[in-house]
C-alpha cells in the first residue's frame, strides 16, 4: 500500500472530484502533507503526541477464552485503549498538527458514531483551535453521550438535517462549510475517503496501527505473521491502517462491511464526496442510504483504496448482519471481558461465522474502539 498516482488514484479509484472552489485547498493540503510527512521534526512531534497523549503503542491481546470457544486463535489489536477510545485519535492528531503547521486556526469535521467527532474535539482543545463538528440528527439521537463529550471539549456540534441525516449528510455539510472558510479552516476528515490527498493521508496517519501490530505479531508468532488480518469497514480507516502493516506479507486481508452498507459487496463504482469508489446507489446514480446498527459504519461508500484492494483481489470483503453483530458484541464481552464498539464487532461477527474454515488458524482483529458509547443502545436491544 504505497503512494497513489500523481492524480490521486489507486488503480481506477480515487481522484479529486470536488467543486472548483475547493481545488486550491486540496492542492495546498497535498503539498503540505508531502512536506510534513518527509520532515523528521514533524514525525518526531507526532510520535511524541501519539505516545504521551494518546497512549501508544496500543497493546496486543491474546484471547484464550474466545479462541477456545471459536477454535480460532485470535489476537486483538487494542485500539480501544487509546485516549478517546478508538483509532480515530491517530489520524486526528496527525491532521491537527498538520493544520497548525499550515497556519489554520479552525477545524471542521463530520462524525457518525461520534468517535471521530470526539477525537477531533479533543485535538482542537489540545491545540487551542476552534472546532465545528457536523453530525446527522439520527446519529445525534443515538449517540447523545458523544454529543455531550464534544460540547464539553469546547466544540460546536451542528445537526445535519438533510437527506438520510446520518454520516453521509454530515460529510456534505462539512464540505459545504469548508468551501466558505478554507483559508482559515482545515477539514479534518475522519476516514480514508474524500478527495485526494485524504485517502492516502489518513491511511498514512493510521499506518502506525499496522506497523505496531506487525512487530507485536512477530514477537508472539516467532517472527511470523497471522494467517488473516481482519477489520470492520465503513469508510475504512481502521482497516487501511492495519492492512498497511501486512499488505506485503502472506496474510489474508479481510474487511467486514455491514450488510446494509455493503459498498464493496455490491461493487458498483460511483463518484461522491470527492472520489471515485464503490458506492451504494440506485439505478439513476442517486446515493442510497446505508442502514446499520452501527452509526460509524452507516455510510454508503468506501475509501477508494479499499475498492482497489478488492478489485485487485489483495483483500476480500465480507458482509455481516446486525443480528450477527449483536451476538459478537455479547460474545467478546462475555468471554474476554472486553466490550467492543459495534463497529469492530462486525469483524468478530465474521470470524465467528467463518470459524469452521478458520479453524486452527491465527486471526489478527483490529479492535478499533471500545463499546462504552454503544452500551445504552445495546441495553435497549438486549434488555
Amino acid at each position: 500500500m504505497g503512494e497513489p498516482s500523481a492524480d490521486g488514484r489507486f488503480g481506477d479509484f480515487g481522484g479529486m472530484f470536488v467543486p472548483e472552489p475547493l481545488v486550491p485547498a486540496c492542492q495546498e493540503l497535498d503539498r503540505a502533507f508531502r512536506s510534513a510527512w518527509g520532515d523528521p521534526a514533524f514525525r518526531d512531534e507526532l510520535d511524541r503526541l501519539l505516545r504521551d497523549y494518546a497512549g501508544r503503542p496500543s497493546p496486543m491481546t491474546e484471547c484464550p477464552n474466545l479462541s477456545k470457544e471459536l477454535g480460532v486463535r485470535i489476537l486483538l489489536k487494542r485500539e480501544d485503549l487509546n485516549h478517546t477510545g478508538s483509532h480515530k485519535i491517530n489520524n486526528v492528531l496527525g491532521q491537527a498538527l498538520l493544520a497548525q503547521r499550515m497556519g489554520k486556526t479552525s477545524l471542521v469535521a463530520e462524525t457518525g458514531a461520534g468517535q471521530h467527532g470526539v477525537a477531533t474535539a479533543t485535538a482542537a482543545a489540545l491545540f487551542g483551535m476552534d472546532c465545528v463538528v457536523y453530525m446527522g440528527t439520527v446519529d445525534i439521537a443515538r449517540q447523545e453521550l458523544n454529543v455531550f463529550r464534544m460540547r464539553l471539549l469546547g466544540t460546536e456540534v451542528r445537526a445535519a438535517e438533510t437527506g438520510s441525516r446520518t454520516l453521509k449528510d454530515a460529510v456534505n455539510e462539512a464540505m459545504r462549510h469548508w468551501v466558505a472558510v478554507a483559508d482559515t479552516t482545515h477539514y479534518c476528515l475522519g476516514s480514508v475517503m474524500g478527495p485526494h490527498p485524504y485517502p492516502w493521508m489518513v491511511r498514512e496517519f493510521q499506518r502506525v496501527v499496522g506497523e505496531e501490530a506487525r512487530c507485536q505479531c512477530a514477537e508472539i508468532l516467532d517472527g511470523g505473521v497471522p494467517d488473516v488480518v481482519t477489520a470492520a469497514v465503513g469508510g475504512g480507516s481502521n482497516a487501511a491502517g492495519i492492512f498497511a502493516g501486512f499488505a506485503n506479507t502472506s496474510a489474508e486481508l479481510v474487511g467486514v462491511e455491514p450488510a446494509g452498507g455493503a459498498a464493496v459487496g455490491r461493487s458498483v463504482p460511483g463518484i461522491v464526496h470527492g472520489s471515485r469508489s464503490y458506492l451504494m446507489q440506485d439505478e439513476w446514480g442517486q446515493v442510497l442510504e446505508a442502514e446499520s446498527i452501527s452509526a460509524g459504519l452507516d455510510y454508503p461508500g468506501v475509501g477508494p483504496e479499499h475498492s482497489h484492494l478488492a478489485a485487485t483481489g489483495r483483500a476480500t470483503y465480507e458482509q455481516v448482519s446486525d443480528a450477527e453483530v449483536i451476538e459478537a458484541f455479547s460474545l467478546l464481552s462475555r468471554t474476554e471481558g472486553i466490550i467492543p464498539a459495534l463497529e469492530c464487532a462486525h469483524a468478530l461477527a465474521w470470524v465467528s461465522r467463518a470459524r469452521a474454515e478458520l479453524a486452527g488458524r491465527t486471526v489478527l482483529l483490529n479492535l478499533s474502539g471500545r463499546g462504552d458509547k454503544d452500551v445504552d443502545q445495546m441495553m435497549g436491544i438486549l434488555g
Binding site: 481522484g15 472548483e20 486550491p24
Partner: protein, 243 residues
C-alpha cells in the same frame, strides 16, 4: 440565466417555458442529485422534493426534449458528476444532445478531472461549462477558460448557492479577472439573488446565473406566472442598467 430545478412540482416544464418568455437569455435546468455539495438549503430542498416526486434524469430530459420549441432559448443542464458517471459519460452526453440541451455544468468535476467527460461531451456536441472560483491562482484561470465551452461560470463567492444580503466583492473581481484572460462570455452565479445584484455584477460580467431566488418562488408554489414575473424583474433591471 435563471436556474430551475427539473421535476420540481407538476408545472416545472410550464414554468421553464414561461421564464423563457419573460426574457431569460438561456436557462439552466437542474437535474436533482441526492448529495448536492455545492448547493445551499434552498436547492437542497428542491432536489429532495423533486426526487421524492419521482424525478429522474430520463424523465426530465424527455420532457425538455418534447418542449424544445416552446422553450425557444438555449438550455444547459446542471447536475453532479455521479449522474453522468452512472449512466455512462457517452450515453449521458448523447442523451443531452438528443434532448436539444446545449450545455452541461457538473460542479464537482474540476479541471483536473474533466477530461474523460469533456471528450464525450465534445463528441456529442454538448458544451461543457467549467467553473472558476475566486481563489483560483492567476495561472489557473486561463487553463479553465481554455477548456470551458459556451461560457465560463464565475463563482461569485467562496461558498454554496443561496441568496445573500449583498453581492460579494469577489463576484465582480472574479468576473474582471476572467474577462482579462478570455474572449468567452463570463457569467457569474452563486450569491446573485436580487435584480440589483444581477445588474451590479453585469457591470463587469456578461451575464448572471440566478438560482436560489427563483427556486424559492418555485418551492413557494408561485406557479409559472409567479416565477416568470420574478425573471421579468431581473430582465428589467439588466436592461435598465445597460440602456
Amino acid at each position: 440565466m435563471p436556474y430551475l430545478t427539473g421535476g420540481l412540482g407538476d408545472d416545472w416544464l410550464e414554468t421553464i417555458c414561461a421564464v423563457a418568455g419573460a426574457g431569460a437569455d438561456a436557462i439552466e435546468i437542474g437535474v436533482p442529485f441526492s448529495d448536492p455539495v455545492m448547493d445551499g438549503t434552498i436547492i437542497q430542498q428542491a432536489n429532495d422534493r423533486a426526487l421524492s416526486e419521482g424525478a429522474t434524469p430520463q424523465s426530465i430530459l424527455a420532457a425538455v426534449s418534447g418542449a424544445a420549441a416552446d422553450i425557444g432559448v438555449p438550455t444547459a443542464v446542471m447536475t453532479y458528476v455521479n449522474i453522468a458517471h452512472h449512466m455512462g459519460y457517452e450515453r449521458f452526453a448523447s442523451s443531452l444532445a438528443t434532448a436539444g440541451v446545449s450545455g452541461c455544468i457538473l460542479p464537482d468535476l474540476p479541471l483536473e478531472e474533466v477530461g474523460e467527460w469533456a471528450g464525450c461531451a465534445d463528441a456529442a456536441g454538448v458544451e461543457t461549462v467549467l467553473l472558476a472560483a475566486p481563489t483560483a491562482p492567476d495561472e489557473r484561470l486561463p487553463r479553465i477558460c481554455a477548456r470551458s465551452r459556451g461560457f465560463v461560470y464565475g463563482v461569485g463567492l467562496m461558498g454554496i448557492t443561496g441568496v445573500r444580503e449583498e453581492l460579494a466583492a469577489s463576484a465582480t473581481r472574479t468576473a474582471a479577472r476572467l474577462k482579462a484572460v478570455t474572449d468567452r462570455p463570463v457569467l457569474v452565479g452563486v450569491g446573485v439573488g436580487t435584480p440589483a445584484q444581477a445588474a451590479e455584477v453585469c457591470e463587469v460580467a456578461d451575464g448572471a446565473v440566478v438560482g436560489s431566488a427563483i427556486v424559492t418562488r418555485m418551492l413557494e408554489g408561485a406557479g409559472p406566472e409567479g416565477v416568470a414575473a420574478l425573471v421579468a424583474e431581473f430582465r428589467s433591471a439588466l436592461d435598465a442598467a445597460h440602456s
